[in-house]
């Protein structure tokens, strides 16, 4: 099976001294790809800068204008977390376009696994606002392309932070199922189990908030129990993974206790949600400890390709099992309330 990755696009102009979201993250990601030693089974697609039309499927036009103008004026801090530089607008468009090219290649081959090694990450970016290190929502832009082709898209987001941007963008879209595992409480403060989607997409958002210290066994179990039935009913035709690796136990940005072996197990789960080969793409989101990032990406991609190479055993024994029933209960209640409200409003 081939691994399809995006071509290089020169991300080094998007950096801010001392900031954890830095170009070296992509160096670590590409080192993980090289560690796979794939030879001719590695396919690198041409770089592509997302067009305005691509971006407008997800983002507000005024926001795009402001972001472009801000970057061209030299950039600076957008908020306490998020920066942009003179080059960030161009770089962000290449990061957004990378997923589109990888998907196009997988479609043509009808086989393989996709990996978008691009930055800045995207899952916090809202339709009209940058936040949480994110400028453009790369995975949402890729999902929009698939939607335009009539696909049903499952987005699995295992970054340690809730992907509030992706959730907001597809909140009321019945052909996108958004599933997120994340630490809670933690930035951005959203992602409770009771957030289940909008009126037209009830049960198309599945949040699995987990306490600090959670290990991989609990996370996987929560995915199976809470998200499993919803994914089965949704029956996706494509699976996009917002693959942040900051849930790793060595990551400085959070307090979960996963290992690279856990990401391999999560990968198996995600890949098995796809109808066939050539329908899964991993998008780099967070992950700020470079060694953990490299080993976790390596474990993820080698597992997805069916030749697992895992350097750390899966973790177990952490807290959070008791949260699973609570999450399901919160989901049920929220769905019942939404249905009851609908019935009240449609009653003669």
């Amino acid at each position: 099976m081939v691994l399809v990755i995006n071509g290089p696009y020169g991300d080094s102009g998007h950096e801010d001294h001392g900031h954890p979201e830095r170009p070296e993250r992509l160096v670590a990601a590409m080192a993980a790809v090289n560690d796979l030693d794939l030879g001719t089974d590695l396919v690198v697609v041409p770089s592509y800068s997302a067009s305005r039309a691509d971006l407008l499927r997800v983002h507000n036009g005024n926001y795009l204008d402001e972001l472009g103008a801000f970057c061209y004026s030299g950039g600076g801090n957008i908020d306490d977390d998020t920066y942009a530089t003179l080059d960030s607008w161009s770089i962000a468009k290449y990061a957004a376009g990378a997923g589109l090219k990888v998907i196009e290649e997988l479609r043509q081959r009808d086989d393989g696994i996709g990996f978008v090694a691009a930055r800045p990450p995207g899952h916090h970016a809202l339709a009209d606002r940058a936040m949480g290190f994110c400028l453009l929502n790369n995975v949402a832009i890729a999902a929009a392309e698939l939607l335009s082709q009539g696909e049903r898209v499952l987005i699995v987001d295992w970054d340690v932070h809730h992907g509030n941007g992706t959730q907001q963008i597809y909140w009321d879209e019945p052909d996108v199922l958004y599933v997120s595992t994340h630490q809670w409480p933690l930035f951005p403060g959203s992602g409770s189990g009771s957030e289940v989607g909008g009126r037209h997409a009830t049960d198309r958002t599945v949040n699995i908030p987990l306490p600090p210290g959670t290990t991989g066994d609990v996370m996987l179990r929560a995915l199976e129990v809470v998200a499993g039935p919803v994914i089965d009913a949704f029956n996706p035709t494509w699976v996009l993974v917002s693959a942040g690796f900051d849930a790793h136990r060595d990551d400085p940005m959070a307090d979960l206790r996963l290992t690279s072996g856990d990401f391999a197990a999560m990968t198996n789960y995600a890949v098995n949600c796809a109808p066939r080969s050539g329908r899964v793409v991993f998008f780099l989101e967070g992950g700020y400890d470079l060694r953990a990032l490299r080993s976790s990406i390596h474990a993820t991609l080698s597992t997805a390709l069916g030749r697992p190479q895992v350097s750390e055993a899966p973790s177990n024994g952490g807290p959070g099992v008791e949260h699973i029933a609570r999450i399901n209960s919160a989901r049920r209640t929220a769905i019942e309330i939404l249905h009851a409200t609908d019935e009240t409003e449609t009653a003669p």
Partner: protein
């Protein structure tokens, strides 16, 4: 006025935010409102916490004294999220703020910049009245 029952004000440690808190405390002093001062804890704060959730920052304790406001009537919160989302959340349960107060510019923001303007974002999306306190405020406040 009901708007002056329960005031929530954002605080990021900047001079603009301090000015906004001062306005909120004076308004609350005159109207008998309660005040919630909230700090949005961003992604980077996991690396370097700026404020303890357990204790009102010393600068705000001093400010309360200067405004003759009883510190015990202040609720201090550190909440996960970006400044805009956190302040908007204050208008919902359990805080149920009846007015949101924000400084015109936050820390590190550039003058005249629309992108990333917390005050504009809050004013656009809020469900309760919003007061944007200009950096130059001394006795008067601008109300949007």
């Amino acid at each position: 006025m009901r708007q002056f029952e329960n005031i929530a004000v954002g605080y990021d440690g900047s001079s603009d935010a301090t000015t906004a808190v001062a306005w909120a405390l004076r308004a609350a002093h005159e109207t008998g409102a309660t005040v919630t001062i909230v700090h949005a804890s961003g992604l980077l704060e996991h690396l370097r916490s700026r404020f303890s959730p357990d204790e009102l920052p010393a600068a705000l304790q001093l400010l309360a004294k200067q405004c003759s406001f009883d510190e015990r009537r202040i609720r201090w919160l550190v909440s996960d999220g970006d400044a805009c989302s956190v302040l908007l959340r204050m208008a919902s349960a359990p805080i149920d703020a009846t007015m949101l107060v924000v400084g015109s510019r936050g820390e590190g923001k550039r003058e005249g910049l629309l992108l990333g303007s917390t005050s504009l974002e809050v004013a656009e999306h809020a469900t309760v009245p919003v007061v944007v306190v200009p950096a130059s405020y001394v006795e008067h406040a601008a109300v949007i």
